[in-house]
Each structure stands twice: as C-alpha cells, then as structure tokens.
Symmetry: C2
Subunit: 182 residues, 2 copies
C-alpha cells in the first residue's frame, strides 16, 4: 500500500481533521499466552497505527527484543509502550482500579456483537491463546465479552487480524463519540 | 478465542438475528502481487469469516494448494471461492462490467478515509504488494481510493491485518444498510 498521487484534497482534509481531537486513543490491549511471536509483532504494528495507549504482554506472550517479533513489528516495538508480566490477573485488577472496562474478545455466541458493543472508555481488550483462547480465570475477571461476528464455516480468525478488527472498530467508535461531543 | 459459557442470551439472539438477512456479502477482494503466502492464508481465513463472495489472486500472489498458505488459512482455502490469473487488469475490467465499485486500499493521504467511505455495493477491494503497494496501472483502474487511518508513527499495517479491518468495516456498513432498508 504505497503512497500515490490522487486528486481528492477535500476529502483528505476532512479525514485528517477528524482525528485531530484524538490526542491519544484511551484503549490498551492485554495479550495473554499468545503463542506466535509473529502475531505479537503484527499486534505491535497495529497498536502503533491506531495510537494504542499500551500493550500488556503476559504469560508466554513474547516481548521485545526478539528477532521474530521485530520481523513483523517492523520498528513498532520501539514506538508502542508495553509491559510484560507473568500474571495477567494482576494487570487486569490494576486496569480495573484505573477505571478501565475489561473486554474479553472471544467467539462465544453469548457475547455481545462487536458492532453492537458500546464501550465505556477507557477500555482494555483482552486476547488469549491462538487455540485455547483466554484462560477461564481471566475471562471471569472481564466486564464484557465481545464477539467478532463470523458468517463463514470456520468460526475463527487469526489473532492479529482479530486485533486489527477490534482496535480499528474502537477507533471508529471513539472518533464518533468525540465528534458528537464537540 | 475459545467458546465459553456466558449468560447474555438476549444480546446473543439480537446479534445472530442481525446477520440473518445477509445471505451473502456483496464484496470480493483482489490480491495482486502479495508476496507472503502466510498473508494470503490469513486473508482466506478472514474471507471465510465475513462471508466474502470471492478472492481474486493475481500476479505473484500464491494460490492453493500450497502448504505455507494452508498453514495460516487453516482450511478456509476450501470454503472460500477463489480464482487465479496473471493479469489483475483483466479481472478489474470484468468486475467493473459486472457493476462492482473497485476500491484501491492504500495509505495515500489523498484517499477517502475508510470510515467516511460510502461504498456502492457490490464492491471489490484491491490490495497490493507488501512493500511496493498496488501497481500504478491497477490503481488507475480503480473508482475509489480508500485509506485506513493511521495515527501512529509507522504509517503501515500488515496486509492481512489491513484486509481484516477493511472487510469487517464493509460487513458493518452492509449490515447497517440492510437494517435501514428493512
């Protein structure tokens, strides 16, 4: 996706202005036991793109410096704030005390649909292991359970792709909130 | 993201019902010269999840069967319709004749913001090479140039993540359109 010259200056001005009031997106993400460091690296890249507040990396989730992670983060591991700890519950409790809504991202049909969800910012979105999902004690600590709609037959997404979908939807929702308030 | 039991049956019913009128999402994607077959595989998985109409794979973009692709597609290469051809322009012309809006996804500041874009369904979204972007002759064939907003310092996303963000935003827009029409 390379820059190229296109003549839509009016729309460009509009679009850029829309994000000016967003000094910082009041969203962080907790990645617990994410197995693949390529996924963690891609998450860093997305975190940079949406202006994420912080990445919390817990359990076996890889953290910088790691060459496999750098391969997909492409430098974003140096621009995004992150913290590592073994225990996700300690972070979850600390974030709740700081006023965050803790939202588990999962595929349960009993969760609220991502597009219907009305987050209460600040928000921390929680992602888990690629195969086993979020561990039950961490799921139990969350305030909200959010489901990415699945229309196909496989009912799963790559965790880094899921991260992109959720974080950009939060950016969209937050931008709309700011626009309505102004 | 494993299934788990959560007690929100009301919201679950609402969410499931919201997608019932969407028999098929009138969106396809053209991946031209996507270098990494892991990215192509992840794209297949996302395509299955959103109910994409078809994937067009052109130039050097890998197509099934390939073990690297299968590794990230996880079976979605068997559920998603796809077609391979060397020339992306032939597909672009064919899709335009079929009434598709052709939308190039790129990072140019002159493009319309993804969230402000009002697509005219059916839509074909066009993605290009991870480093070089979409080739100029293909960009020139597109009706619309759509930009994923970038708030960070790196100004780029993994192409499979970008695919997830764009395809899910199209699913959200299409669902809203259907809801308003009913």
């Amino acid at each position: 996706m390379k820059d190229h010259m296109e003549r839509m200056p009016y729309q460009a001005t509009l679009a850029a202005a829309a994000y000016e009031p967003i000094a910082a997106l009041p969203v962080c993400a907790l990645l617990d036991n994410v197995r693949s460091m390529y996924n963690v690296g891609a998450f860093f890249r997305t975190a940079d793109a949406v202006g994420l507040d912080k990445l919390y990396l817990t359990g076996i989730t890889a953290c910088p410096p790691k060459s496999g992670l750098r391969k997909t983060a492409l430098g974003a591991e140096e621009t995004v704030a992150w913290e590592h700890g073994w225990d996700p519950l300690a972070f979850a409790d600390r974030l709740r005390e700081a006023g965050c809504e803790l939202a588990a991202i999962e595929t349960s049909v009993h969760s609220v649909d991502l597009f219907d969800w009305r987050p209460r910012f600040p928000v921390c979105v929680v992602f888990g292991h690629e195969v086993d999902g979020i561990r039950p004690e961490l799921v139990a600590r969350c305030d909200t359970h959010v489901r990415i709609p699945m229309l196909g037959r496989k009912h799963s997404l790559n965790v880094a792709t899921a991260g992109g979908v959720v974080l950009y939807e939060l950016l969209r929702k937050y931008r709309r909130l700011i626009e309505r308030a102004s």
